[in-house]
Amino acid sequence: MKEQNIKPPNFVDQLFDWYCGNAPIEDLRGDMEELFYTNLGKMSVTRAKLKYLQQALSLIFSCAIKKRKQKSAYHQYSKQSINLSMIKNYLKIAFRNLIGHKAYTFINVLGLAIGMASCIMLALYIQSELSYDKGFIDAESIHKLILERKYPDQTKIQAGVPHSFASVLVNDYPEVERATTICGPFDDMIISYKGSDKTNLKFLENDVYAADSSFFRIFSFKILKGDRKTMLQHPKSMVLTESTAKRHFGDEDAFGKLITMSGDVFTVTGICEDPPANTHFKFGLVISIHTIERFNLDNFNRPDSYCYLKLKEGANPSALESKFPKMVDSYAAADFERVNKTSWADYKRAGNGYAYFLRPLTSIYLDPANIGGMKPSGNIILVRILVGIAILIFAIACINFINLATARSNERAREVGVRKVLGSFKRQLVFQFLSESFIVSFIGVGLAAILIIVSLPYFNLLTDKNLQIAFNSQTAFGLAVLIIVLSLLAGLYPSFVLSSFKPVNVLKGNFTATPKGKWIRSGLVIFQFWISISLVICTLIMQQQTTFLSQKDLGYDREELLVIEGDFHMKPSFARSLVSEINKMPQVLSSAGSLSMPAMDGIYPQQYQSEDSPEIRSIHTMYIGDEFAETMGFKLLDGNLFSFATNDSLSVILNESAVKTFGLSNPIGKKITFIEQTYGSGEQTTFTIIGVIKDFHYRTLHEAVNPLVIQSNEIIFSRMSYIVAKVKSGAYKEAISKIESKWKELAPDMPFRLRMVDGVLEAHYQKEKRMSKIFTLFSSLSIFVALIGLFGLSAYTASLRTKEMGIRKVFGAGIVDVFFLLTSGFTRTVLISFLLAAPISWYLMESWWLRGFAFRIQISIWTIVGVGIAALALALVTVTYQSVKAAITNPTRSLRNE
């Protein structure tokens, strides 16, 4: 025993203790130690230590300890059997603790509830985005045929393909079980049928599709009436969706009814369910595709329909894809050469081509190229970001709990000390604290569920979805898992910190919270504010961009502009007389017709060649009527616009970019040649340029302004599908009702549709608007949860320092001094988080989001600084309540016990 400072190796003791668990081994440890010190006298320290290890191992492998462990397992204080009464005790004590500190519990529960509600709502949204098209039977084996159209200068992914490939795929490739062609949507179809009182009823029907009989055999939509296999087999058969049937026939049975549409009489041969919201399909009425003559002819070159195929089990889609180039060569080439009178090989050599490939059904909705075609597509990036946000909000809520629990360690330390002295094992204490976090999570998640039930309808409005929380065992299981995960994530760290206090230190009374704990807490608060400030900055930039989009000068006057949507088949004489009638109205400044409408439709690329260069260019083309340019407010730079006085059928107007593309220095009077390609005739027409207008945004602001050629609708018999009217300001309502009654008078049979151009434009930025709204919601929630945590934390910090503040006041510190002392720490924390958040959010928005816009704002430093100041102000307001309370407390109160 002479060398007291040499001790047996620590790790051996730990190993030994760990192995023995709670078996009584005091005597063994004593013996080992005694032997060790005896050995020290006989041999070197290293050898003694080795010997010690050897002894410990010999004991570990002996049956002595095994026996002792077996015995101790039945001992009433054993920690190995967690029996029911102990759990009951944990819960009871936890409840008492939580009820005893109501404010603390409230803050914790509130933070968790809001955080969890946000997470669950996001999870519902994400789940719904990911569930698209997965509900079909054999969804995995269904694929969509996609066309990659190659041009010399670009390639374009197209959802539509020529219809004849469907039958080729089934006939030539054994691995294809079935293929279907569906074509549409045909909008504004006028359908009529005999009503119950024998009168002829007329309605306008949208989302009309034409499909072959395989469609309902590939896609397992529920069939309510009719034979799935044959209902689309014969021409002039028609399948209604449940809601369409109900809309037209009410409770009457629609099956077998006769419906007239575009001159054909259809029989209703089937009724199917409405396509579920989480499919990429949207139709209200499906007719047999064989009704339409052109689908009975071969077409391998002009994309006109969507094609889906179902592969046989075990078939490899990429193996099938590799056979497509040959298929195109053998079928499309002949068709192409017949129509275009040019060699297929030459065409391909020039860099053109048709490449086909398959996309799995389940990936269609989230594909960035919108290959579904029927509905606006989802956004996989948005889904990923929302997953990220959900995780971050979860973290912020957990951090609140961790911070508040560890901040209370001073208070809990004494309890831990006493418990340990009375024989509590560390593991029991951990359980004790975990059961507290379990109860808080339980209440928090329960409250979150209630919050979700209340707020889900509003969230659905915001996201334009129909999210629901189902009350079934799956949901219950999910919530239970959430509660357990949450209570472990939030409770594990605090329970280990709190239960590891040494009773000697704690009970001596000189216990103070370790600086390490304080550092971890500040670090976590910085993390919380870093995340929420970043989210807020991103949100603000998004909002600015969306506002910018809706206010940007488009190059035409969109205010007080109405557009009447007719269709291509509107009789020119009717349209012309309507325009002149509208022009006569005192509320209307001017009115004109057009086949193309900016931001709407009717603008397609066409092929042109200029006089000076042989190059054929693909340029967007509009067809407008006389005075349309004036009504829209296009700015003429040179030459003339189309007018009633002249025949403009061989005149064109170019925009500035087109002039640049053609490289014309003095464009007026120059000629350009138009080469018909849409129908493949290759017919050439030469036009004279009569005017140049300033660039305007003829599509959405996602795209830059490209070259544009404006032809007169006089070349297409002065047809119009849009009529615009510029209205005197404030005369909106009158003008609309007058136009409507005029329409009814001239065309009582035709549906009247009128929109405001402003509204049309707004609709284009729906996606961005929705995204910015979702971001606004969740960034505010995240900062709110973070503030709740800060509030709780400041309350405890202030309470810990009551005495210190009391003494400071006794020595003459003023209220302001005390206030600053208490708030400076938090101010620093928020400032650090801001400094971390600013560059990251700037980078994210700059390099990721704003890049998707051809026209975008510049991020202003002041936006970011503004958010920083606001966050600081919010944080200060949050901590002020506690700080002021501490500052104005009379020192006689806080110090009277000393």
Partner: protein
């Protein structure tokens, strides 16, 4: 008298008996090592003691904490009456056999 004690068990029992009031882990081990001049591990010793205790041949109790060994208590061992009986039984058996084979066991040549 069921059970049968092995050689090492006998050694341990006799050592405990010889140490009297002071029979605890280390002292037993040291004595065995000294007398029999062989090295035994503490694990082997406690295995045997545990077995003996289960057979009811020894009993043990914890002593008072002392300044030594960091305040850890020692576990003292003592032979039970049963233990004494079985030691006697072994000895009687041996004595009887010795008596019978004395002539043949003589070391003198």
């Amino acid at each position: 008298m069921k059970g049968y004690i092995g050689e090492f068990e006998e050694l341990v029992l006799l050592t405990i008996a010889s140490l009297g009031e002071d029979a605890y882990g280390v002292s037993i081990q040291e004595n065995i090592e000294k007398i029999s001049n062989r090295s035994i591990s503490i694990g082997a010793l406690y295995s045997t003691i545990t077995r003996l205790e289960e057979k009811g041949l020894t009993k043990s109790w914890l002593g008072e904490p002392t300044q030594e060994r960091g305040g850890r208590r020692k576990r003292y061992f003592e032979i039970t009456h049963q233990g004494k009986l079985s030691l006697h039984h072994v000895k009687d058996l041996r004595d009887a056999l010795w008596k019978l084979s004395k002539a043949n066991l003589s070391l003198a040549k």
